[in-house]
């Protein structure tokens, strides 16, 4: 399988393409939207894109179990990030009454 056929039929290139596009969409969400919660969701999307690329490479290297271990660690870090990040959003909402990242541009109260 080569070229466009590999992308459509689910070759390695197809999975990598999905991972890149997912990463680009996550990055665009972080850059274009102003709501902190949506920016946070964009970060989660980028983490997922990395996971897709990692497990695609693992499958084409004969089902490597090490990649699965790394995937587990990435998920653990993503869960930590979700808990702390959402707590920070709630803290900001309490202090400033907003979830707009543009309105949180200064460190002063």
């Amino acid at each position: 399988m080569t070229g466009i056929d590999a992308i459509l039929q689910g070759g390695l290139q197809g999975y990598l393409m999905v991972a890149f596009l997912l990463f680009a969409l996550g990055l665009a969400t972080v850059l274009l939207r102003r709501t902190l919660l949506l920016q946070f969701m964009g970060v989660e999307l980028m983490l997922n894109a990395a996971n897709v690329a990692l497990l695609a490479f693992a499958r084409f290297r004969g089902g490597d179990a090490q990649a699965m271990v790394f995937y587990l660690f990435i998920i653990a870090v993503a869960a930590c990030e979700a808990a702390v990040g959402l707590a920070l959003v709630i803290g900001l909402y309490r202090h400033r009454d907003t979830t707009d990242s543009d309105r949180a541009a200064s460190l002063k109260q």
């Binding site: 390695l12 850059l31 919660l37 897709v52 084409f60 995937y71 653990a76 920070l88 709630i90």
Partner: protein
């Protein structure tokens, strides 16, 4: 099959980017995560697919939706100042990045040879294989990950408590 799940993933992510309502954006993200889980099944990795659904759609997204409803701000607030230059610059930057990455993947001979040599479907990942790899080689990392989760939990409680 692959193209179906890829389209579910990418359309979910695109819906999240374009959706005005934050709750609808969260639901679009659920679609994207389910698409990614489907891709993991196609990659002979049902363990990762199950974990994806349990952790991302089960835990992280429920947390996000809880916070959205708690904060009571479902629509994006009006912009304080227009940022047309930054927005266009970011669009150009992201599309250039995506284009470059796509071109790199299609032109790479290493990726091509890896795709050809690993085309045969490997044995499906099982919890047994994962357990051997995790507890034989990465025991310290596993313990550190547990500690990190505990620290994050305490940190989240400390940050949301009103007067500590």
């Amino acid at each position: 099959m692959f193209i179906t799940f890829a389209l579910i993933t990418l359309l979910g992510a695109l819906g999240m980017l374009l959706q005005k309502n934050v709750i609808m954006a969260g639901l679009c993200m659920v679609a994207a995560f389910f698409g990614v889980a489907g891709l993991f099944v196609l990659l002979a990795n049902p363990v990762a697919a199950a974990l994806q659904i349990i952790v991302y759609t089960g835990a992280i997204l429920v947390l996000v939706l809880f916070v959205i409803m708690m904060l009571n701000s479902h629509e994006e607030e009006k912009a304080q100042a227009p940022h047309p230059i930054q927005r266009w610059a970011s669009v150009v930057f992201v599309s250039a990045l995506a284009f470059g990455a796509v071109k790199l993947v299609l032109g790479s001979s290493g990726v091509k040879s890896l795709a050809a040599s690993g085309e045969a479907m490997p044995q499906a990942m099982t919890l047994q294989k994962l357990g051997f790899a995790l507890f034989a080689d990465h025991l310290l990392g596993f313990e550190v990950a547990g500690l990190l989760l505990l620290a994050a939990m305490i940190g989240a409680v400390a940050l949301t408590k009103r007067n500590l």
